[in-house]
C-alpha cells in the first residue's frame, strides 16, 4: 500500500513534472527529433539521473525517518500535521500559478561544459538536478516516505514516486506529443488537486484518530 | 493518393456502420468468445476464491475456500477466507462449526450462526484470524468471510 501510494502521488503530479522539466530535454530532443531511438536513449539517461536523485533522497529521508519517527511523540500526530500542511501546499501549487523553473536548467551551464567531453552527461545531469526539484509534490513525497520509518521503505516509496512521475516522459521521444503540453499541465494540476484532497483527508483522519 | 484515401475512408465508414448491428446481434457469440480469455474471471476478492475442500456434517456440509490475499502486485498482508454452509435439505437453524482454514490440522476459529436472525459470533483460535468480515444468506446456503492476517507476510 505504501509504495502504491508513492506511485499514485507520482502519477498525479507527474504531468506537472513533465511540463516543468520537459523543456530541459526538448532542445536536445528537437535537435535529434527524427532519431526516435536516439531520443529514447536521451530520455533514458535523463530518467536515470532522476532515479539516482530520488534514491538518494529516499535514503536521506529514510535515515531522518528512523531518527525522528521512532520517538512516539512524533508518531501519529506529527505525520498528520505534515500531511495537512503539505496537502494544502499541493492544493495551492495546483490552484495558483507559480513560476517554476526546472533545476535541470540551472545545471545546463555545467553540463554544457562537461558535454563537450562527455555528451551523455547533459541529460544525465539534467535529470539528476530535475529530480531534486523541491516542489510541493516532492516535499509531500519526502513527508510520506519518512513515515515508513526505515530506509528500505523510504527508498521503495521514492522509486514508486519516480515510476509514477516518469510515465509521463515515455512519450517524449515522439516530440510531436508536445502539442498537448498545455492540456497535460492542466490535467496534472487537476490530478494534484484530487491527490491534495486525498492527503488532506488522510492527514485529518490521522490527527483525529 | 487523395482518391485512395477517400475510398479507404468510405470503406472504413461503411464497416463502422455495419459494426453496430453486428456488435448487438452477435453479442452472445462474441461475449462467449471473450469470456474464454484467461483474464475473464472475477477477482477472488469478489468471487470468494477457489474451493479448497468440503467437509460433510450431519444434515449440512461446509465448503472452505482457499484464503484470499489479493493485491495488485504480489500478496497483501491482510485477506479473508470464505466459508459456505449448505443444508442437505434446508439450512439448519443454528450453525456451530470449527474451521481449520489452512488444513494444517490445527483449529483456527469457531463460528456460531443463527440462520434465522443472521447473528454471527466468531471465536478466533489462531492469531492470524482477525474478525468477521461478512455473514449472509446466499440463495440456499449461508456464507461468511473471515478476515485474516497473511502468515507469509
Amino acid at each position: 500500500m505504501h509504495s502504491s501510494e508513492g506511485f499514485l502521488l507520482g502519477l498525479s503530479t507527474g504531468a506537472v513534472c513533465l511540463a516543468t522539466c520537459g523543456p530541459v530535454l526538448i532542445p536536445y530532443l528537437l535537435a535529434e527529433s527524427n532519431a526516435v531511438v536516439k531520443n529514447f536513449l536521451e530520455v533514458g539517461l535523463f530518467l536515470s539521473g532522476r532515479l539516482v536523485a530520488y534514491v538518494l533522497t529516499g535514503v536521506i529521508t529514510g535515515i531522518a525517518g528512523t531518527l525522528f519517527l521512532q520517538n512516539h511523540v512524533f508518531q501519529g500526530f506529527v505525520p498528520g500535521i505534515i500531511d495537512v500542511i503539505l496537502s494544502l501546499s499541493l492544493l495551492a501549487y495546483a490552484f495558483f500559478r507559480f513560476r517554476h523553473v526546472c533545476p535541470g536548467e540551472t545545471s545546463n551551464q555545467l553540463a554544457g561544459r562537461l558535454g563537450l567531453h562527455w555528451p551523455e552527461a547533459i541529460p544525465l545531469l539534467g535529470g539528476f538536478a530535475s529530480g531534486l526539484n523541491f516542489c510541493p509534490p516532492f516535499i509531500l513525497a519526502i513527508a510520506q516516505a519518512s513515515a515508513s520509518g526505515n530506509i528500505a521503505g523510504s527508498v521503495i516509496y521514492f522509486v514508486a514516486f519516480f515510476a509514477g512521475t516518469s510515465l509521463y516522459f515515455i512519450p517524449l521521444p515522439f516530440i510531436g506529443f508536445f502539442r498537448r503540453k498545455q492540456s497535460l499541465t492542466i490535467i496534472g494540476k487537476f490530478a494534484a488537486i484530487i491527490a491534495g484532497l486525498y492527503f488532506l483527508y488522510k492527514g485529518i483522519f490521522i490527527i483525529f484518530h | 493518393m487523395k482518391k485512395t484515401l477517400s475510398i479507404i475512408g468510405y470503406i472504413w465508414a461503411v464497416l463502422c456502420l455495419l459494426l453496430i448491428p453486428i456488435t448487438f446481434m452477435g453479442n452472445n457469440a462474441f461475449a462467449s468468445m471473450l469470456a474464454k480469455l484467461p483474464f475473464m474471471k472475477v477477482n477472488p476478492i469478489y468471487s470468494g476464491g477457489e474451493v479448497d475442500r468440503t467437509v460433510n456434517h450431519a444434515g449440512f456440509k461446509t465448503t472452505i475456500n482457499k484464503p484470499v490475499f489479493e493485491a495488485l502486485i504480489g500478496e497483501s498482508s491482510k485477506g479473508f477466507v470464505q466459508v459456505k454452509w449448505t443444508g442437505d435439505k434446508m439450512l439448519p437453524p443454528i450453525i456451530n462449526d470449527t474451521i481449520d482454514y489452512d488444513n494444517n490440522g490445527i483449529r483456527d476459529f469457531i463460528i456460531h450462526i443463527d440462520t434465522h436472525t443472521g447473528k454471527t459470533e466468531l471465536t478466533p483460535l489462531d492469531s492470524h484470524v482477525l474478525s468477521l468480515n461478512i455473514s449472509s444468506k446466499v440463495k440456499d446456503s449461508w456464507l461468511a468471510r473471515i478476515n485474516l492476517l497473511n502468515p507469509a507476510k
Partner: protein
C-alpha cells in the same frame, strides 16, 4: 458571405423517406429484440408508439438536416425510461433499489460501461476483473458489456456519449431547461478535469482492487441501484451520490446550459475521448465559410469547441458528435466528416453514413426500454401501480 444550403430541396421528401426505410427494419429488429411480443393490447400499442417515435425522429433528421434537435429527444427519453424500467425491475426482483450483501456475494451486480475505466490496470496485473458481476450470465454480464464497449468505441468513438449512453440524457436534458445560461463563460479547461479524475480513479481502483468510482462517486447511483444503508460508510456514500447527482446532473447543467457531468466529470467520457482517434467519423469546420461568430463555442455543451480548435478546423478530442454546433451554425461551416475524404465536400453522404450507426445505437439502447416503459406507464395509470 453567401451561404449555401447543405441539403437540396428537390426530391428531399422522397429521398428522406427512402433513406428512412432501412431504419424501419433496424428499429423493428432492435425494439423487439427479434422476438415481437404482441400478446396484449398494451404491448402492441407500446411497440407501435416506439416504432413510430424512432422512425419519425430519423426521418425528421434527414428531412430537416437538423441532427441534435431530434437526437436529443430520443436521447433524453432513453435516460428517463431507462431509469424507470431499471428501478421497477430491481424493485420487482429484490424488493428495493438497494443491493444486498447477498447480491454482492453471489456476483450479481450488473456491469455498467463506466466500470471499464477501473478494470484495465487490474486486468493487466492480476489477470482478473475487479467487479462483483457475472462473466457471462444474467443481465448486463461483464463479457457482453465489454463487447458492446469495444464495438461502439471502434464504430463511433465518443459519439457514444451523445447517442448511446443511458445516463447522458440526464444532463443533456437538464442543460436545455433554461433558454439562457445563468452562469456564463465557464472555463472550458474544466473538461480536462475528467481526464485527471480518470487517472485517479483508474489508479485508486487498481491499488485498492475496488471499483472506486462505483463505490464512492457515481451520481447515477441515485437513479439506478446503490448499496443498502447499513452503517456510517454506506450513509456517507449515499450522501455523496445524491449530492453529486443534484449538483452535476441537475443544478449546474441547468445554470450553465452545459453537460457538466459528462463534460467535466465522467471518467468513462474521458476514456471514450481517446477512441475518437480510432474511428472514421469526426466533426470539422470549414474555415472558408466560418465568419468567426463563435456561436458554436457558446453552444457546445461539452466544452469541446474552443478558440484554438476553431482555428484548427476541428473540435477537441472530447467532442461527442451530438451535432448541436452543426445545427446552430448559420454559415453551414460545420459538418460531419469522414477521415481521409476531402473536406468541404460530400457533407450529406458523410452525415448519412454517420447517422445510420449512431441512430441504430440509440434505438438499440432506448428501444426496448421505451417500449417496456410505456407498458409500465399504462399499467401505472390504469392500476395505480407499476408492479
Amino acid at each position: 458571405m453567401k451561404t449555401t444550403s447543405l441539403y437540396s430541396t428537390s426530391g428531399k421528401l422522397w429521398k428522406s423517406i427512402a433513406l428512412t426505410l432501412p431504419m424501419f427494419l433496424l428499429t423493428f429488429v432492435f425494439i423487439t429484440g427479434g422476438k415481437p411480443d404482441f400478446s396484449s393490447s398494451s404491448a402492441i400499442f407500446s411497440f407501435v408508439v416506439t416504432f413510430i417515435f424512432f422512425n419519425t425522429l430519423f426521418f425528421l433528421m434527414l428531412y430537416t438536416g437538423k441532427t441534435d434537435r431530434f437526437r436529443a429527444i430520443g436521447f433524453i427519453a432513453m435516460a428517463l425510461f431507462f431509469a424507470l424500467v431499471f428501478i421497477v425491475n430491481l424493485v420487482k426482483m429484490r424488493g428495493s433499489m438497494s443491493f444486498s450483501n447477498e447480491n454482492l456475494l453471489s456476483c450479481e451486480i450488473p456491469f455498467c460501461h463506466i466500470v471499464t475505466t477501473m478494470i484495465i490496470i487490474p486486468i493487466v496485473l492480476t489477470k482478473s476483473i475487479i467487479f462483483p458481476g457475472s462473466i457471462l450470465t444474467g443481465f448486463a454480464s461483464i463479457a457482453s458489456m465489454l463487447v458492446i464497449v469495444i464495438g461502439i468505441s471502434l464504430a463511433l468513438g465518443r459519439g457514444f456519449c451523445s447517442w448511446g449512453c443511458f445516463y447522458g440524457g440526464w444532463d443533456d436534458g437538464t442543460s436545455r431547461i433554461l433558454r439562457r445560461p445563468v452562469i456564463k463563460n465557464v472555463n472550458p479547461n474544466w473538461r480536462w478535469f475528467s481526464f485527471a479524475f480518470l487517472l485517479i480513479i483508474a489508479l485508486s481502483a487498481a491499488i485498492t482492487l475496488t471499483p472506486t468510482y462505483c463505490s464512492w462517486f457515481c451520481p447515477f447511483k441515485t437513479v439506478t441501484e446503490y448499496e443498502k444503508i447499513t452503517n456510517f460508510d454506506t450513509l456517507m456514500k449515499t450522501i455523496v451520490f445524491v449530492s453529486l447527482f443534484l449538483s452535476l446532473v441537475i443544478i449546474l447543467p441547468v445554470l450553465t446550459r452545459k453537460r457538466i457531468q459528462c463534460g467535466t466529470f465522467c471518467p468513462m467520457g474521458a476514456l471514450m475521448s481517446f477512441t475518437n482517434k480510432i474511428n472514421p467519423f469526426e466533426v470539422t469546420i470549414d474555415k472558408e465559410k466560418c465568419n468567426d461568430c463563435k456561436k458554436c463555442i457558446r453552444t457546445c455543451p461539452t466544452f469541446s469547441m474552443v478558440e484554438p480548435g476553431l482555428s484548427k478546423g476541428r473540435p477537441e478530442i472530447t467532442c461527442m458528435k451530438c451535432g448541436k454546433c452543426i445545427d446552430e451554425c448559420s454559415q453551414n461551416a460545420i459538418s460531419y466528416h469522414i477521415r481521409g475524404t476531402p473536406s468541404g465536400k460530400a457533407f450529406t453522404a458523410a452525415r448519412t453514413l454517420f447517422l445510420y450507426p449512431a441512430f441504430t445505437l440509440l434505438v438499440v439502447f432506448a428501444g426496448g426500454n421505451i417500449q417496456y416503459g410505456i407498458v409500465l406507464l399504462i399499467r401505472f395509470f390504469s392500476t395505480g401501480s407499476f408492479m
